[in-house]
């Protein structure tokens, strides 16, 4: 059974930060259609802060890593995105506590707890044109797979398909909800960030595995 050491997660977080930073302008453009146009700037700043904070930790456990990521999201980003991305990592902390090596079911537990936390906090379901549209299929695909490799790949595919599915939806949550039907035709930036996140993890895994 393959496991991930906590120290490897620091490299995973750096891969996410690089990917989100590379797509910063795309995310800003997507957000300009539905919000105030700075999602790429703020989410890349938050993931870069998370990667830097994690790099500064001395022999962190998996839960330390998730805690540092949560704090970077909550404190550096702010807004609804900060609260929701922060909640995703914050709720993943208890299942990881005390673990130095993570097997697939540990990671699954952290991702599922994060998903449930985000849905409860934002009161959003699939179809509401939010990050949940990408996060839920990604996490469920990961959970359904047998091994990490399949899990990450299917999570990335699920997240991307979920993000694409937001294009034809009206907005029901967040500041975009006032656009309602006028939001159709635009992909949700938060869902796109989730797709980038799982694609970065998949890329990191295949580069390593």
């Amino acid at each position: 059974m393959m496991t991930i050491r906590a120290a490897q997660l620091a490299a995973m977080m750096q891969a996410i930060a690089r990917r989100v930073t590379a797509e910063r302008e795309l995310l800003n453009r997507l957000d300009a259609a539905l919000g105030d146009g700075d999602h790429g700037t703020s989410i890349s700043a938050a993931f870069n802060a998370a990667a830097a904070d994690i790099a500064a930790l001395d022999q962190p456990s998996a839960s330390d890593l998730w805690t540092a990521a949560a704090k970077a999201m909550l404190n550096r980003m702010g807004g609804a995105s900060g609260a929701l991305f922060g909640t995703f990592f914050l709720k993943g902390v208890p299942p990881l506590r005390g673990k130095d090596r993570l097997n697939k079911s540990d990671m699954e537990a952290a991702l599922l707890a994060g998903l449930q936390g985000v849905k409860a906090r934002g009161k959003a379901e699939v179809g509401d044109k939010t990050m949940v549209d990408a996060l839920e299929p990604a996490v469920l695909a990961f959970a359904a797979a047998e091994e990490f490799a399949d899990g990450w790949r299917q999570a990335a595919e699920g997240a991307r398909a979920g993000a694409e599915s937001t294009r034809e939806l009206p907005a029901r949550r967040g500041r975009a909800k006032y656009l309602g039907e006028r939001a159709r035709g635009h992909i949700d930036p938060g869902a796109t960030t989730i797709a980038l996140l799982f694609e970065a993890i998949d890329g990191w895994w295949t580069g390593k595995a």
Binding site: A32, T41, L74, G79
Partner: protein
């Protein structure tokens, strides 16, 4: 995408901090800066009184900075442009506001503000801070229909809550009474905004939304959120004649009521335009037998440089009139 607007800033990353440096230097007799973008009263209120805390994104100046001071709020936690501050910073604000009688966290109803406030209260609970509560404030009739008032967003009309709640908490009110007073003011307040132009983000330089010259949008939110739809821009009188009736019908405000009126400049209208607009408001209110107790006209809760205004009415009784007339000394809210 439209051309970038030139703004008189230095580095986009430093906007909020440099703004706070300037504000706190100019008004050092009223406010001081502490911690991670907290703005506090220069002289804290007396011990044993309920502290009032408000977080919020920047881009709405002088809100909320100008409302910190005697007779008003105690602590403002300042976020990035149009972005609510995170929960650990709100927690720091709650601690800073606590003078031994607890703190009330005032939340302008937007997704980001509410989610971060909820997280902050959970953090308080985890740390054993139990004399804290929050109140969600909203006033914009365009953002949800009547009977779904609690889905509405907070806009310029929160002005009335800051002033009267601030005065109330200079007395010996407890936390529960403070929250009830905030709800009373909120439940008697209704607002509607309109806009003739968009605004540009000082961070990205891009305009936030497109609005053609010669058009207007009724029901715009405080961050340029879309309202009830666009139409050709009208004269001042015709604009008021379109906006006032739905405000009056919503509460409803009735003949014999006494009201406070706020005509809030969203950014770049001229005072001349606001006075002309107010003239019509006063005329129409007189026509339906509603008495204006006091009025305020000016930029109190702005949306960067948006050309537009919000009209807010608050129905007052003797208690609220006395609170309105109580002294206040914030940088942008003075009451002798």
């Amino acid at each position: 995408m439209s051309a970038r607007k030139h703004k008189l800033i230095n580095k986009p990353d430093n906007i909020v901090d440099e703004m706070l440096d300037g504000f706190c230097a100019a008004y050092s007799h009223i406010v001081r800066r502490a911690g991670d973008r907290l703005v506090l009263r220069a002289q804290p209120k007396a011990a044993g009184k309920v502290g009032l805390v408000m977080g919020g994104g920047s881009g709405h100046e002088p809100a909320m900075l100008g409302w910190i001071g005697p007779g008003l709020l105690d602590v403002n936690i300042v976020g990035d442009i149009f972005t609510a501050p995170g929960p650990e910073r709100i927690l720091a604000g709650i601690r800073a506001a606590d003078r031994g009688a607890g703190a009330l966290l005032c939340v302008s109803h937007h997704e980001g503000d509410r989610l971060n406030a909820e997280l902050a209260l959970e953090f308080c609970q985890a740390e054993g801070i139990d004399d804290v509560d929050m109140v969600i404030l909203y006033d914009d009739i365009s953002s949800a229909p009547k009977s779904r008032e609690s889905d509405r967003r907070g806009t310029a009309g929160l002005f009335f809550v800051w002033k009267m709640l601030g005065a109330f908490c200079e007395g010996d009110a407890d936390l529960a009474a403070a929250k009830a007073l905030a709800q009373k003011v909120r439940d008697n307040t209704r607002s509607l905004a309109m806009s003739l132009s968009s605004c540009a983000s000082p961070v990205t330089g891009e305009v936030m939304f497109e609005l053609n010259e010669g058009d207007m949008e009724i029901g715009m939110g405080l961050h340029g959120e879309i309202g009830r739809g666009r139409q050709q821009a009208l004269s001042a009188d015709a604009t008021i004649d379109l906006m006032l009736p739905p405000i009056l019908a919503d509460l409803p405000f009735q003949a014999g009521d006494e009201v406070l009126v706020l005509l809030n400049n969203s950014g770049s209208l001229t005072l001349m335009e606001l006075f002309i607009l107010y003239r019509r408001v006063a005329f129409k209110l007189r026509e339906v037998g509603i008495r204006v107790y006091k009025s305020w006209i000016g930029p109190y809760a702005t949306t960067l440089e948006t050309a537009g205004f919000a009209l807010s009415l608050c129905r007052v009784d003797e208690q609220l009139k006395a609170l309105w007339d109580a002294p206040a000394n914030g940088a942008y809210m003075k009451q002798l």
